[in-house]
């Protein structure tokens, strides 16, 4: 009997030790078992179709216990929410300005996709083929070119008969990164624009109709004859709009397509990009040199704090979920981009993003990216 109880004790001891070791190993596993969480983001409408697609795919297939609430309220409100730390991440087509970087210290710029700003128009009788230069577009928005058959317009379009009618310009009434891209382009190509109006997420438009959001600009142009507006490519396509071919520095009139956007990215983003926590204010994919590049192209950024414990309501679980979501977006999520007419990030940009994402911490601890 005594030997049986010794054996029994021995077996129990082994079981207990094995169980203890196993539990320890199990509990110290990081990453694969995340708890449910909800992330809140706000910002640009420019990448919204792409972001919505990635959010849907990710929360339905990869992390079903995650909810991501993204409000497309405009880059400006996204940035101000980031500064106020009332959201977990922001999306913006405009990088942070110097003063914004001061108000949001150690915020990271993570380009997640690339889009093009198209010049959409509603011209009865002219379904396609309108050609414009940057100078002419600036003139239209400045109010110096007021009629569709103005000689400056007609001379670019010798194979079209432009009607005699006033041009109605449509612009963004909300604070918008798309506006910043567009006005930066206009400032590049027109010194009059640069001195009179300048560039920014919100400028003082010399007239025209205002609409809130890319989708609303698209709808307004569609509903208003003889109107012209600037709209992100995905929205122009979604709404089957006529878009103009714009002259690029190489002298070619290029229509905005996935191909011409990608060419611009490959040409303009091949080198010289800053690290995530540096100033991205001078990064520009506008007017790149390649022969077939569309001239009005831009990165759009996810903005997060490098140290996530400054955001209200953040905890380690949420921070990990956020990091893993962003990692997914810049890797597997890129597969969703082409069908929505967004260009995929080139490899060198993905690398910069990887470095940025890996630098994200919570309470000083780095977070696993998958």
């Amino acid at each position: 009997m005594r030997s049986t109880s010794k054996i029994a004790i021995g077996i129990i001891a082994i079981v207990v030790i094995v169980a203890a070791v196993a539990s320890y190993m199990y509990l110290s596993q990081t990453g694969t078992q995340l708890e449910p969480a909800t992330l809140n983001g706000a910002g640009a409408t420019f990448p919204q179709p792409f972001l919505n697609a990635t959010i849907t795919k990710y929360t339905q297939n990869v992390r079903t216990n995650l909810q991501i609430n993204y409000q497309g309220v405009g880059s400006g409100q996204g940035i101000s929410s980031l500064i106020a730390k009332t959201v977990d991440f922001a999306a913006s087509d405009a990088p942070l300005s110097a003063s914004q970087r001061q108000q949001a210290p150690n915020a990271l710029h993570i380009p997640e996709t690339i889009g093009a700003v198209t010049i959409a128009y509603n011209l009865p009788g002219v379904q396609s083929g309108l050609q414009l230069t940057g100078q002419v577009i600036a003139g239209i928005y400045l109010g110096t070119i007021t009629n569709w058959n103005d000689p400056a317009m007609q001379s670019l379009n010798t194979n079209l008969t432009l009607p005699d009618h006033a041009i109605t310009t449509v612009h963004r009434s909300d604070s918008s990164g798309t506006t910043r891209i567009f006005t930066k382009y206009l400032s590049n190509v027109s010194s009059t624009w640069a001195s009179q109006v300048g560039s920014g997420t919100s400028v003082q438009w010399p007239g025209g109709l205002g609409a809130s959001g890319n989708a609303a600009v698209a709808a307004t142009v569609n509903q208003t004859q003889y109107a012209i507006g600037y709209v992100e490519l995905a929205y122009a396509l979604q709404n089957a709009m006529s878009v103009a071919a714009v002259k690029n520095p190489a002298g070619n009139y290029i229509s905005p397509t996935l191909a011409s956007t990608t060419t611009a990215v490959q040409s303009g983003a091949s080198s010289g990009l800053p690290a995530g926590n540096q100033d991205w204010g001078n990064v520009s994919l506008l007017n790149t040199q390649a022969a077939q590049a569309y001239p009005i192209v831009s990165f759009t950024y996810l903005l997060v704090y490098q140290e996530l414990n400054v955001t209200s309501g953040m905890d380690k679980n949420k921070a990990t979920q956020l990091v893993q979501f962003i990692w997914w977006v810049v890797h597997s999520g890129q597969d969703l981009a082409p069908s929505l007419q967004y260009a995929q990030l080139p490899a060198n940009v993905v690398q910069i993003d990887e470095t940025s994402i890996q630098s994200i911490t919570f309470d000083g601890q780095h977070l696993p990216t998958s």
Binding site: Q77, A166, S173, D174, S175, T201
Partner: protein, 320 residues
């Protein structure tokens, strides 16, 4: 003896405690006012210090970094012009309703009709805006603005291509929204006119209409004027309905020079732009506009209440 005195002290203590407690709670009114005014004043100091009087007289609204310049004049004008349109259209209609209810309507109709008019006041502002954006705007554009623009477009206030989302439509919606207020107060003013005045007028052979026009309305004119000012106060403070139909213009082009131009009021500017402001000075500019709005609204409402309570001799509480 002592027990009774203790009892009495306890009673008094309880009463005093209650009185003090409720007095403190009643101070909530002052607290709310001070918190609002204080936040706005504190928040507008930066923009006022930086731009001074330009903020009140200038028209530029430029948040571009390095070129910041903020002038609130177009939005003050927008508020005043839309409110003026609201009064021009809404007051006659309100008086018509008030006269109908006070003098014309058979007893059986008074209650249902006044219910209906009061229901106008119950509809939330955002639903007015929704209706305005999808329904009223189309009516205005097709049936009122386009004909006016075609035939009278040479008159400056009718210039420009009408899109329906402009100062005119905003004014019309405000007119509808102030009708319940102005109509119900005017009705009470008319009812408060002593019958002896009416009888005196009838006795010299005046028709019913003449009695109203020459005797009743003039007797009650300061009360009616107070009702109008109350309506003005409501129009000035209205935000959502106006924001959805006014067209959202910014900068010098927002000056209301034509009825058919997209415009902007102080409240719609804030509703549209406050959350997006990223620089502190821009936020301060919105707060400054809020401060001007607050002051204008306070002035008008204080004036209105003084006038109305003086005439009706009831507390302002009887009127909406």
């Amino acid at each position: 003896m002592v027990r009774e005195q203790i009892c009495m002290i306890k009673k008094l203590a309880g009463d005093n405690l209650f009185k003090i407690l409720t007095a403190i709670v009643a101070a909530s009114a002052a607290v709310i006012l001070i918190v609002n005014a204080g936040t706005l004043i504190g928040g507008s100091l930066p923009v006022l210090q930086r731009f001074g009087t330009y903020f009140f007289t200038g028209t530029t609204w430029n948040p571009v970094e390095g070129r910041e310049l903020f002038g609130a004049l177009p939005y003050v004008m927008g508020t005043l012009v839309t409110s003026a349109i609201a009064l021009l259209i809404g007051v006659p209609i309100s008086l018509g309703i008030a006269i109908f209810l006070a003098e014309m309507a058979p007893k059986a109709m008074k209650v249902p009709v006044s219910y209906l008019v009061e229901l106008l006041a119950a509809v939330p502002s955002v639903i007015y805006g929704l209706w305005g954006l999808f329904v009223l705007r189309i009516w205005m554009q097709n049936y009122i603005e386009t004909p006016l623009s075609t035939y009278l477009g040479w008159i400056p206030i009718f210039s420009g291509t009408p899109f329906g989302l402009d100062i005119f439509t905003a004014g019309v919606i405000l007119a509808i929204m102030i009708i319940p207020t102005v109509a119900s107060v005017s009705r009470e003013v008319i009812n408060a006119v002593p019958d002896s005045i009416r009888e005196g007028a009838y006795s010299i052979g005046a028709t019913k209409w003449e009695v109203i026009r020459y005797w009743v309305l003039s007797y009650g004119r300061s009360g009616i004027f107070g009702a109008v000012i109350l309506g003005l106060g409501r129009a000035v403070g209205e935000t959502m309905a106006v924001t959805m139909v006014i067209g959202n213009a910014i900068g010098p082009v927002a000056m209301p020079t034509s009825l058919f131009k997209p415009g902007q009021t102080m409240s719609s500017l804030i509703a549209n732009g406050f959350l997006e402001s990223t620089t502190p000075i821009e936020k301060s500019a919105y707060m400054g506009v809020g401060l001007i709005l607050l002051l204008v609204s306070l002035l008008i409402n204080i004036g209105a209440h003084i006038m109305v309570t003086r005439v009706l001799k009831v507390k302002g509480g009887a009127v909406e």
